[in-house]
């Protein structure tokens, strides 16, 4: 053990800071009955714009406009992607170059990205620059010019490059196919149009401009500030978001049909990799099912410790097929969810590992999960839910899409609490749709339940890669 005096001054300082930060944490833990206030977003309505803020008292701020304009809501293919590419381009007041250079001078970063549900324009910057970046976001949302030459020279070109990139990613394609068989339109729309998607007639600067009129209305966006005080953000929002229209205008309307789960199977040949996605109806933001979250972490796949597969069932399943990686995730959307098990790797390994994965699922349905594993899975699910609210981009996204969809941010405190209450019995119940093979062993009441679940419990299976080797859903023992 090195004595304290032997440490350099810098190390001493660091050690002292560590000790003091521990003190701060202990202070939080003392009041741990509810989540600390810097965790939760407070929402206000400023001149028609829904604003959510949380202040972690750090030196930087993340400010984002979250619009309900993800691929799910686009009325024609490619529009979300086009609008994303048109972010921070020429506006009525400033050129794209000027926007970028000014942001650089202030040390800020401008990012635009989309998910299936939301389109996010995000700025990260030093705390004191909030007026400038609020104005910039408002300008981008309401005053972008959508010029023809920018579409031809920048937007279209970049979209083609990104399409080629997505086309080479077998795992992303498999996830996309699984969504499309599970949800058809809406949520089933491709996250990024593939190079063979016909975009002609749907995607040009005029259609993107009218989509922006529908998407960037006050009723359709939320402004989320992470690391900003509520008063400062309200003040600047009121001033700069004045010109944003209150309701959608223009000829286009968003495709806001409710989601239905269908299920099915889709197989695609691909030379660049092998991937299988087995998906089931999961837990959504609107209808949170804690048992699904626990199930996802029980299946897991990613080890939380180094050099060992960990306790999760999928990592054990993948261990039997070297080269395969199997992971389970619950993809939550506002009104639907998808519990996915994805297996990537070489064709033969994927084949073996996916069969093992289904076996693992069935073993849970039979009640073959040990109490110890369940405890670990509950703890892991709680940790995942809490850590995702603590840092990273997903907090802004979750808060923003919560507000635009239901008027309040998806708060994590309740989520973590409900996960704690999951019992083995509940977990068994969730797995009924999969356990349809074991009907004989259960009571008549359960047969009824299981038969009903069999009818509605259709899986969505997508295979991408070497189709000669990859199994069909029927071979895996799944009903589609």
């Amino acid at each position: 053990m090195i004595s304290r005096a032997a440490l350099s001054r810098g190390a001493q300082l660091a050690a002292r800071r560590l000790a003091s930060s521990k003190l701060v944490q202990r202070g939080y833990a003392a009041a741990a009955s509810s989540a600390p206030s810097s965790f939760t977003y407070e929402t206000t309505d400023v001149a028609g714009v829904k604003v959510a803020t949380r202040d972690s008292h750090g030196p930087t701020t993340k400010l984002a406009v979250v619009a309900k304009a993800g691929t799910r809501y686009q009325p024609a293919p490619g529009l979300t992607v086009g609008l994303e590419e048109f972010a921070f381009k020429n506006t009525q007041k400033r050129s794209a170059l000027r926007l970028q250079r000014e942001a650089e001078l202030l040390g800020g970063q401008l990012v635009a990205y989309h998910t299936r549900e939301a389109l996010v324009l995000e700025a990260r910057f030093l705390r004191e620059d909030i007026p400038y970046f609020t104005e910039l976001l408002a300008e981008t949302v309401s005053q972008t010019k959508f010029t023809t030459y920018e579409y031809q020279e920048d937007v279209d070109r970049v979209i083609h490059i990104k399409q080629a990139k997505v086309q080479g990613d077998a795992a992303a394609l498999a996830l996309d196919s699984a969504h499309s068989v599970a949800f058809h339109h809406g949520l089933g729309a491709s996250l990024y149009p593939s190079p063979s998607t016909p975009l002609k007639g749907y995607l040009d600067e005029n259609s993107i401009a009218s989509f922006s009129e529908a998407a960037y209305a006050k009723s359709n966006i939320a402004l989320v500030g992470d690391g900003a005080t509520s008063s400062a953000l309200s003040k600047w929002t009121e001033q700069f978001f004045k010109n944003v229209p209150a309701t959608p205008s223009g000829s286009m309307t968003l495709n806001s049909k409710a989601t239905t789960y269908y299920g099915g199977e889709q197989r695609t040949s691909h030379t660049g990799g092998n991937s299988i996605v087995m998906a089931f109806p999961g837990s959504s933001f609107g209808n949170f099912k804690p048992e699904i979250a626990v199930l996802a972490s029980l299946l897991g796949g990613q080890s939380s410790i180094k050099w060992a597969p960990g306790f999760t069932l999928l990592s054990k399943a993948a261990a039997s097929a070297p080269g395969a990686i199997a992971t389970a995730t619950n993809l939550a959307y506002s009104d639907a969810g998808l519990l996915t098990i994805q297996v990537n790797g070489s064709a033969s390994a994927v084949r073996t590992a996916s069969q093992e994965a289904v076996k693992a699922l069935k073993s849970i349905a039979e009640g073959g999960v040990s109490k110890e594993d369940l405890t670990k899975a509950v703890a892991r699910a709680r940790f995942d839910a809490l850590v995702s609210s603590e840092s990273g981009i997903s907090t802004i996204l979750a808060a923003g899409s919560g507000i635009v969809h239901s008027g309040k941010p998806f708060q994590v405190a309740e989520t973590a609490k409900s996960i704690e209450g999951v019992t083995a019995e509940q977990l068994k119940k969730v797995c009924y749709p999969l356990s349809s093979y074991y009907i004989e062993t259960v009571t008549d009441k359960r047969i009824l339940q299981a038969a009903k679940a069999l009818l509605e419990g259709k899986a969505s299976v997508a295979a991408v890669g070497d189709l000669h080797a990859l199994p069909y859903a029927e071979e895996l023992g799944l009903t589609v």
């Binding site: 050129s95 170059l97 000027r98 250079r101 001078l105 023809t148 030459y149 031809q152």
Partner: protein, 125 residues
């Protein structure tokens, strides 16, 4: 273009001077001879220039097509040492700038880029 000093802004600001010079200008444009070949003034801008090439790419498809048609017709006339029949001459009201605004826009972009590249930061604290 506009690399040389121009008196046009000076003249345009003074209506009396503009009204005085307008007939002279009209006579000059007609006498220059390009209208008799069916061309517009902007068709005469040199193409061997980065910015003009870029501006030509930004032309709307119909404009670009019409431009090529006018140029080819003029070349045909020139080869045959003829001028077009009078009814096909470019009318003064048709002789509008269609390429110049795009070139101006590109120049402004270029200038903004140069300005931003060479900017110095003055801290006020």
């Amino acid at each position: 273009m506009s690399a040389y000093p121009s008196l046009a802004p000076f003249v345009m600001k003074r209506p009396w001077l503009r009204n005085m010079l307008k007939p002279v200008a009209n006579w000059y444009s007609s006498a220059a001879g390009y209208r008799q070949l069916g061309l517009r003034a902007d068709d005469l801008i040199l193409e061997e220039d980065e910015q003009v090439l870029k501006a030509l790419k930004r032309l709307p498809p119909q404009e670009a097509y019409d431009r090529v048609y006018r140029l080819r017709r003029a070349v045909q006339c020139s080869v045959g040492a003829k001028i077009l029949p009078k009814d096909q001459w470019t009318k003064p009201e048709e002789d509008t700038p269609y390429l110049k605004p795009l070139i101006e826009q590109l120049k402004a972009e270029e200038k903004e880029k140069e300005d931003l590249d060479s900017l110095t930061i003055v801290k006020n604290h």
